[in-house]
Amino acid sequence: MDYFGEHLLPGKIGHFFVTLSFAASFVATIAYYKSASAKNIEDGNAWKKLARAAFAIDCFSVFSIFAVVYYIISHHYFEYNYAWEHSNRTLPGQYLLACIWEAQEGSFLLWTIWQCALGLVLMFKAKKWEAPVMTVISFGQLCLATMILGIYISNAKIGINPFLLVRQMPAFSDAPIFNQANYLSIPQMQDGQGFNALLQNYWVVIHPPVLFLGFAATIVPFAYAFAGLWKKDFGAWTKPALPWTLFAACVLGTGVMMGAAWAYEALSFGGFWAWDPVENASLVPWLVLVAALHTQVVYNSTGHSLRATYFFVIMSFVLVLYATFLTRSGILGDSSVHAFVDSGMNLQLILFIVVFLAPAFYLFIKNYKKIPHIEKEESAYSREFWMFIGSLVLFLSSLFVITATSLPVINKIFNTNWSVGADNTFAYNRVEIFIAIILGLLTAFTQYLKYKDTNRKTFLKKMALPTLIATVLSLLVSIFGGIHYNKYGPGFQTAIHLALFGAFYAVVANAGYIWTGMNGKIKAAGASVAHVGFGLMLVGILLSTSKKELLSYNTTGINLPFDPKDADKNPLENITLLKGIKTDMGKYWATYTGEDSTNASGNISYYHVVLNEKKTDKRFDLYPDLIRNTKGMAGVSQNPDKHHYWDRDIYSYINYASNLEKGSDTTQFKYHLLSGKDTIFYSNGYMTLHKTVKNPNNEKYHFIDADTAVMADIEIVSRDSMRYTAKPLLYIKNNELKTIPDTVFAQDLVVIFKGIKNNSPEIGIKESSALTPFVSLKVYEFPYINILWIGTIIMIAGFAMSIFRRSKRQAAA
């Protein structure tokens, strides 16, 4: 059948480039391989020329694919499934780009684009390492190209083609609308499904690209290590690869922490880190990469730890691939809230791991004995010894996290049925708190040690002052900081205080080292700066988590009395706020004053809550919002709002709003004729007509003499002798009779002026118990959360300084 109005050309172009990128990366892999294993230089150079051309074509194809996808989405060609499923006409510009990585295909595309960019840089910078390193990168490109290939070999699906039309989707092929040649003119094809409203936040524009740059960058140190094993030049790659390891760790760390900031800011997970499997899956490669970074530095300076470096570098990339499998295979379905669903590519995703893991470990084990190492062992007063121990701790920590995260995989393989218990975060925290203690201490003193050996006296002398300062500081915080976190008993509480000391120690000692160890040469102090940042992150995490406080205990007694002894069982974490009624909320008075919608499509409602601090009578406004989703099954998503103080955030979100359930009020109006001194009774009092006003002009209505409008001025007296007025209105517009009802919230009454019968106004009243709008609100206080963000920024700055310095030194060498 010929269909009307389809734009098939972009899809054809796109698919052409998909095929081309697959072919070009294949050629590049072979040619680089040939170049790397060529016996003489001329052969090698000839192959290299071909390989470079092929890789360039691959890059051009990948950029073109991305451009075509963007073209289809931005032109709203909804005959394409990608545009139909992930975008719509009202999507603002920045999200037209971001919605590309809402789906698996798009995020693979992002990955391969970054890998192209990294490959192009390596092509110019890697010099003698270019051929073997680029063999691995080109092979990576080939693997990623298969992810968007979208072909079937017998029954196995290889990749997802981003250029499929809606009518070509297997799930829709039998939909009746595709029997019509003009199906595109049918309303539901006129607009797309849109981009998930919950994700519409500036973080979705920036977090995935950074994270995927981090993922993509981990292949570079891996490729260098692989090249070292392959070319049997075991120790020469670590120096040129060091800036790359730093770069990957820096960007991946940034990406992970951006995810944490996004979770904190927009997703109402109640915090920045929930130990969700998807979070863990991106944290673990970073931990191992940081371990690799440290042993790599050790090897460059002392010749120790090369074998460990190989192991960590290989593992970090393999873990990136494993994380890809975990999050995209659907295996986390029962344990994670944000993993993808199974897309039928599991075998391909497993193979993606195996094709890198198997050859790398084969070469590593085969050559293990030949990898140079120093027989004489490190002194306990040497820096390399403790750096190695630190790397080991990082690796063990990652091993623990990934094992716990992999329970669904373990269950599948061994047919077991384990799951992390009801208290997910504590399952991790109780182990990681000890990791934090050890890492804090190691980070603090290791830099004060010199490579090889250190004079004990000078070491102790230099350590004395930072130790004293850190001890005093952490004691002050421990004693006066009000850390009363005893939810998990005294053991865990002690561990928190110890970790706090470790964290302060790391900050103070590393800051001090910039002066005492390096004479204030800040340019060379990248590592110390990064360590200060890391220490501050630990301080921020410990303080904000252990001092996180729920403010919205439902102590009002509106419903149930709050019993602190019963808090474990029934924490009463939500408080109900009736509109306009000042409610007692612990340290604050809370008032819900109304809601407003400001965006164009009207699907975001902001709820205005005023908080008054009782002690100071300071007042501030919070506007947590609810988004009615445009898409999928999600009904409503909540978006928190925060009030920032320099030392804490007041963090709130709406858990329920009565006005969301429209049409649930089924109470009927009762009508009465009301003339003269007639009285209408309702359950809680009575009302009389005071007067009727023609064309009223008051604070509520503005009519002029030429209009036709009548307002009834009704006086209501409740049983407790309170007096209210209701002013419903009746008017004529375009020859139609219209009414504006009036509401008396205090009495749960709606009064309507229905018409005039026999010269008497006909008044309808409705009593509804669910009339007073209310919200159910949760409020937290996050103290010192800013220390975490500041620490993150400092750590990233430290990384950047190191990258700059190391790559400059590398260029000079």
């Binding site: 799930a171 993808f340 939500n574 329920y656």
Partner: protein
């Protein structure tokens, strides 16, 4: 023996201890019947929400009480009670993962982490949902 080796051995011992204690704290996936056997022990259920029964959440009365009924694949039923808000997407949820304890006839969930629904981003690739959208006129 080298210092490094000793330290590695110590770490291995600690790691094993941590793992054992972690495994000890793990709960297991159970059916409703087997969860009843283990009354008072923290378990994990993967069950379907029974939409034919009332989903009881009236925040005007108590925003921290939420109760519903579930059935497992074997057809057993139980009432579930939680002391926190109803998750937004709950009305449309079919399968949910619950972590809590059997207490008599009810399954009690104490923490907000105890109910896991699929998050919105997981539905976006669900062809059935999109198909439903497409077939509606």
């Amino acid at each position: 023996m080298k210092k490094t080796h000793i330290i590695i051995l110590i770490f291995i011992a600690i790691a094993i201890a941590a793992l054992v204690s972690f495994m000890g704290s793990l709960s297991t996936y159970e059916t409703i019947a087997s969860a009843r056997q283990k009354e008072g022990k923290s378990v994990t259920l993967y069950v379907n929400v029974d939409h034919s029964q009332v989903i009881d959440y009236d925040p005007a009365k108590d925003p921290n009480y939420f109760a519903f009924h579930v059935t497992d694949t074997l057809g057993n039923k139980t009432k579930v009670v939680c002391n926190f808000e109803k998750p937004y997407d709950f009305d449309k949820a079919e399968a949910v993962t619950l972590k809590g304890k059997m207490e008599g006839d009810i399954f009690r969930i104490s923490g907000r982490d105890g109910i896991l629904l699929k998050c919105p981003s997981k539905y976006k690739d669900d062809p059935n949902m999109a198909k439903k959208n497409l077939s509606q006129n």
